[in-house]
Amino acid sequence: MIKAILIFNNHGKPRLSKFYEHYNEDIEQQIIRETFHLVSKRDENVCNFLEGGMLIGGSDYKLIYRHYATLYFVFCVDSSESELGILDLIQVFVETLDKCFENVCELDLIFHVDKVHNILAEMVMGGMVLETNMNEIIMQVDAQNKMEKSEAGIAGAPARAVSAVKNMNLPEMPRNINIGDISIKVPNLPSFK
């Protein structure tokens, strides 16, 4: 079972936190801080699995994370999940975000927390993996968005604003905020021979 899904940026600012098990408010914050602390000090060329944060529950749990440009995506799971399976699930999640937001960036996650949660809810339900097929997820999300549009034609405004920012292509923008940067292409794993 997935116990928690956390997204935070390189500075440890939470961008999304979803707990599938109840923790105290303070404990949740502590978990986010500790997880950031554990994950951020790891180099790029080490493995994507971490074991045994004190807080999130001892030996049976592990953290599986991926780092994309400015954001860390961390899944905390118990032993009933496959490590590599979850690692690819994160990839699916990010690709889906990318499709839904057209070149996703940190700002999208900030301004559309609710949408990100909705996308996530189509993938993981109550801690169980519900759907792993990106097209299927997008279909579900789209179906809901359609209803949304028919209800409130103007609700899309902030999304357009952000995409306007994205498309402005500000020349002075340094790399780490480069909004197109987080658009993820799946790196094909080189063979191991």
Partner: protein, 1132 residues
């Protein structure tokens, strides 16, 4: 970075106004979130952020409570509140509004409302009750999206006691035409199963339907449930193995639509899930394993594309192959796979490879040997996680010869490690290894010193405890003991002379105990010096008061002679006025005992550790005091749980329906039995690896070295072999060739110039992998003789409470682990020859071999059909059971047994006679007889031997039951081929659906040693239910008094004119309930649990179902009874 964000954000409002349509009302509100975020990014300190957010929250609060706020604005406010909550600021005022939004908003707003609710609240939050109605409404909605939302929120969190209210609706959704709804319904039901398994008992067959659903997505969702169910009870689902295999075969064969492909791998997550299920099903089961060999082979073969996800599948395959009944062909392939993992340059794969190696290394030590150079490289890997995994692997292959190197590596890691969790884990492992395989005294003491100083005060307290126990109990030889203690004293004195301020408190406690106990062994050491060193500890500021009392205790043991007394007086004067009462007590003791050496010798005899202390755990010496106090009018003592219960009963209307008296009573039980904390096993929590469930616990018993002899790393003489890939040593090499590398650190190649670092690694390898050669070579060389374990605990007489004897008795007691028993005995037998415990130990193999059938259980599928009529001919009709039971006997044994039923019971209905256990001599069976006001357990002891057995002692115990013996004495005799009968009356202490008794029968031949056999007996709670005759008025008053209740909808028996009457009469017949009255659509029923614990039931017909409400003063009883009602109606 922040200034860039700022720039982007300052540009934002402008952009918005440019971009937005004229007349947009959304604008101001959306820029509010923008403003907030911009505000936050501008801040420099946490304090300012707090101020800003508080401001924001106040403004949100104002707006949400304003009546003019529209739902749309509310939605936007909720998003802002979610943002604040995510940053860790509570906005509890908005919770109720979130619920309102979910209730009243249009679909879009509803979605945000539900989202906010699921982020803000938790299962036990009281406001959640307000959501139930909304969920109910949405589940019935025709809008699919609303149904989806409701199902999602239900699976995230739902109040447990409200499940019955929505269960029928969710169940209904299993037949919904849309697959996404079916899928979500399955997962919601799975969630219900997790939080309240009893509630969904009746829909297990619907899960099967979900598994056979035509949509693969629904089938995938149902696998979550099956994984859980099979993990809990693999035996119950063996019949599904072929189905799972067929599914996997189709998936692997690419029969699924292309949609399910991920990077051209067909439904990889589904494959992973299926492989995990197969793994659970095939474990320890040859016939089931055989069904899956083919598909596993196929999976291995197909997973060839070089992508992450195929490795995920391969990893599961490998784990499965090593868990199920082995097949050499597959094992070979799996081993190759593990090799690929370990050798991969991808770090994630390497990690999993190491995990897999750790998992398999005990079955297949050759594999570790093959990859020894890679393992050595991993030891120096920059990634700490990889390093730790490697150490975990090394821990598994440690033996007496490589222990020093491995422990060195572990300590090295510990010194750089910062993570508390890892430290605790690893320190425990080092301590375990040191105790098991220490090569000599010096090494042991030094290693333990490092453990104590590195482990600090975070380590498990049982490490110092067991260390001290080991020192005090000693080993087989007195001389060895003396040397070890002497060395400990020496090294601790020198440690104290250096810088004791740096040592952790736990270590100081150990030191002071050892010095107090054993410093007399060092004759040239002045008592005075030791006392002064100890006194120095007292003066240090960092010393905790707990440590101080240890130090004072040690000083009390030491103060002797003139100088000692003066130091003692000085110290005791300081501390006899301490605020800490314990310290003051110790100081007083020190003062008095230092002056009276005779008394001291009596109170603190030297070397007392060897004689076990007699502890009067019943505190009988206080009896006089107690009776005096009682006579003086004191209230008799009641254990806490009893007090609590009485308190609850005293209250007329309890406000806490789910009183938790259970955990309290458990803990008080534990305390009454005074056990030393040292008995806790050290190995707990040591095997932190989640993959190795299969051999947890077995670890301590089968040390690797005993199986695999001494030859280890085979020197790679030929330069060709110096690559990372190392061949398996051929068993045919001459002993001299192999012996050259055996454990020597100074191995230098003579004829090949090896590069320097490579050489180092090889040396390391030779010292690490010594003793790990293949089994076959061991046989050929005839070197299987194990080296004795150095610090093996002395086997004490059974009366003592040493850990060793604890282990022995455990292994004797636990019937299922016969293999462990055998191994354990083999180990011990080869070492001890002159111990008193040997005689009792040697029986264990006999016993465990002789144990044919254990654990009789009579509840299985049909809780009511086990009550047979009293006619004996009905009972003997199960020849299979009888044959299995006692193949060497004539079948109608049951007849014989039932004829032995005591006369007063023979007319009553009794359950089937179930075999409990048997060995060569005794056959135990039992049944229970339902008397009107009691339940009697009858145990038949059949002596199948020719000789008479005397002194048969039967002991029964149960957590849930109170057992009292009805026969005159518990001790029985049985002449050859005859039956002895014992009767016990049972009553329920703590209700649970099934109650279990454990028992032990011990007996003795006229000549010979005592023997004992364990058994257990399980019976359903329904056997304890009796009708209770009350009038409707009495029922009414009682109903209000009872505090524990449960509600659920049950199916009605509809094939009758009067469904309620029919249903109740079925319940009456099957469960012996008393129907008080039926009034129209409602019925009231009463029963009691023996002896006099009432339970009332109220039923109301409603829309084709029966709403049942159970109440009782006894916790858990309503839940249990509900379960039986459900079963009874289902079976009807």
């Amino acid at each position: 970075m922040s200034d860039v964000v700022e720039k982007t954000l300052t540009a934002l409002p402008g952009l918005l106004s440019l971009d937005s349509q004229p007349g947009s009302t959304k604008l101001s509100s959306s820029s509010k979130l923008g403003n907030l975020i911009r505000g936050i990014t501008e801040l420099t300190s946490k304090h300012e952020e707090e101020k800003l957010i508080q401001l924001e929250l106040t403004s949100i609060k104002e707006q949400v409570s304003s009546p003019n706020t529209s739902m749309r604005q509310m939605k936007e406010l909720m998003v802002r509140a979610i943002y604040c909550e995510m940053l860790g600021y509570e906005s509890s005022f908005s919770y109720i509004h979130a619920i309102k939004l979910a209730q009243q908003g249009t679909a879009l707003e509803k979605r945000v409302g539900y989202l906010a609710v699921s982020l803000f609240l938790n299962e036990s939050h009281e406001l959640l009750l307000l959501l139930v109605n909304t969920v109910l409404k949405d589940l019935q909605s025709t809008n699919l999206i609303e149904v989806c939302m409701a199902l999602t929120v239900v699976s995230q969190m739902f109040p447990k006691d409200m499940i019955p209210a929505i269960l029928p609706l969710v169940e209904e959704k299993l037949n919904h035409p849309k697959e996404i709804i079916r899928r979500k319904a399955v997962l919601a039901l799975y969630k219900f199963y997790l939080i309240a398994p009893n509630q969904v008992q009746h829909i297990h067959n619907k899960f099967r339907k979900a598994l056979c659903d035509k949509d693969p997505g629904v089938m995938t969702a149902s696998l979550h449930i099956y994984l859980q169910l099979i993990e809990e009870n693999p035996e119950g689902y063996k019949d599904l193995t072929t189905s799972f295999v067929t599914i996997l075969k189709q998936v692997v064969g690419g029969k699924l639509p292309m949609d399910f492909n991920y990077h051209s791998v067909p439904a990889p997550w589904l494959q992973i899930q299926l492989l995990r299920i197969l793994c659970l099903l095939g474990k320890n089961d040859q016939s089931t394993s055989e069904i899956m060999y083919e598909v596993l082979d196929e999976s291995l073969r197909r997973a060839e594309i070089n992508h992450n996800i195929t490795y995920a599948i391969l990893f599961e395959c490998v784990k499965c192959i090593y868990t199920i009944h082995p097949k050499s062909e597959l094992l070979e392939k799996a081993a190759k796979c593990i090799g690929n993992f370990v050798l991969s340059p991808k770090i994630n794969l390497k990690y999993l490879g190491l995990k897999a190696l750790t998992y398999v290394v005990q079955q297949d030590p050759k594999l570790a040997l093959q990859h020894q150079m890679t393992i050595i490289e991993c030891l120096d890997h920059p990634d700490l996680i990889i390093k730790r995994e490697t150490l975990e692997l090394l821990f598994r292959i440690t033996n007496a010869q490589n222990v020093t190197v491995i422990v060195d590596k572990m300590l090295e890691f510990l010194r750089v490690n910062k993570d508390d969790y890892t430290t605790i884990d690893l320190v425990g492992k080092v301590a375990e290894l040191a105790e098991k395989y220490a090569p000599d005294n010096e090494w042991f003491i030094e290693t333990m010193s490092t453990v104590f100083s590195v482990g600090g005060d975070t380590m498990q307290p049982d490490i110092p405890n067991s260390f001290l126990k080991l020192l005090s109990e000693g080993f087989d030889s007195m001389e060895e003991d003396r040397k070890l203690r002497l060395f400990a004293v020496d090294s601790y004195v020198s440690l104290l002379q250096e810088e004791p301020g740096k040592l952790p408190q736990r270590f100081l406690q150990v030191i002071s105990w050892v010095l107090g106990e054993y410093s007399y062994l060092r004759e040239d050491l002045e008592v005075d010096t030791v006392l002064r060193l100890l006194a120095k500890l007292l003066d240090m500021k960092t010393t905790s008061s707990e440590t101080k009392s240890w130090v004072l205790m040690a000083m009390t043991k030491l103060c002797e002679g003139g100088a000692g007394v003066s130091v003692a007086r000085e110290v005791s004067e300081t501390y006899s006025s301490s605020l800490d009462t314990v310290l003051r007590q110790r100081a007083q003791e020190l003062q008095h005992l230092s002056q009276d050496s005779e008394m001291r010798a009596r109170v603190l005899p030297r070397n007392a550790g060897l004689d076990p202390l007699e502890v009067d755990s019943s505190l009988s010496f206080l009896d006089g005091f107690v009776s005096e106090a009682l006579a003086a009018g004191a209230a008799p003592y009641k254990p806490p749980h009893q007090r609590q219960e009485e308190l609850a009963q005293a209250k007329a209307l309890s406000l806490e329906p789910y009183g938790l008296s259970l955990p309290i009573s458990m803990s008080s039980c534990c305390i009454t039995d005074r056990q030393s904390p040292t008995l806790l096993s050290i190995s707990s929590g040591l095997s932190g690896n989640s993959n190795d469930l299969s051999y947890r616990g077995g670890l301590k018993l089968d040390g690797v070295k005993r199986v695999w002899g001494r030859e280890g790393y085979l020197a790679q003489r030929e330069p060709v072999e110096e690559s990372a890939h190392v061949e398996v040593p051929s068993p045919l090499r001459s002993p001299s060739q192999q012996g050259g590398a055996g454990g020597s650190h100074s191995h230098t190649p003579t004829h090949t110039p090896t590069p320097e670092p490579e050489l180092e690694k090889q040396q390391l390898a030779s010292s690490l992998f010594v003793g790990l050669a293949s089994q076959s070579s061991v046989c050929l060389m005839g070197k299987s003789e194990p080296t004795p374990q150095r610090f093996r605990r002395k086997a004490n007489s059974p009366a003592s409470s040493s850990a060793a004897s604890e282990k022995q008795s455990n292994s004797m007691v636990s019937a299922p682990s016969t293999v462990d028993n055998l191994m354990f005995n083999n180990l011990l037998d080869s070492h001890i020859t002159s111990e008193p415990a040997v005689s009792s130990l040697e029986q264990t193999p006999q016993l465990s071999q002789g144990l044919v059938a254990a654990n009789g259980s009579c509840d299985e599928e049909l809780p009511d059909s086990d009550v047979n009529g009293s006619s004996p001919s009905l009972i003997g009709d199960d020849p299979v059971v009888a044959a299995e039971l006692a193949p060497h006997e004539e079948p109608p044994k049951d007849l014989l047994l039932s004829s032995c039923l005591p006369a007063e019971l023979s007319g009553l209905s009794h359950s089937e006679i179930t075999p409990l256990c048997s060995d060569q001599i005794l056959d135990l069976s039992a049944c229970h007889v339902q008397k009107e006001d009691a339940l009697v357990l009858v145990v038949f002891i059949y002596n199948s031997s020719d000789s008479d057995i005397q002194q048969i002692l039967l002991e029964l115990d149960s957590e849930e039951l109170e057992v009292s013996c009805e026969s005159d004495s518990a001790v029985q005799e049985a002449t050859g081929h005859s039956v002895a009968v014992c009767q016990y009356s049972l009553s329920v202490k703590r209700p649970s659906v099934h109650v279990e008794l454990v028992g032990m029968v011990s007996y003795q031949f006229p000549v010979g040693t005592p023997q004992s056999v364990q058994f257990s007996y399980k019976l359903p709670l329904s056997s304890f239910i009796r009708p209770m005759t009350v009038s409707t008025e009495e029922y009414g008053t009682m109903w209000l008094d009872f505090s524990h209740d449960t509600k659920q909808n049950l199916t009605l028996i509809s094939d009758d004119q009067e469904p309620l009457t029919a249903t109740l009469s079925v319940l009456k017949k099957k469960l012996q309930l008393h129907v008080v009255e039926i009034i129209g659509m409602e019925g009231i029923v009463a029963c009691r649990l023996l002896q006099d614990q009432p339970c009332l039931m109220h039923c109301r017909m409603h829309a084709g179902t029966m709403a049942v409400w159970l109440r009782s003063p006894v916790p858990d009883l309503p839940d249990c009874l509900m379960y039986f009602c459900q079963r009874a109606l289902q079976e009807h």
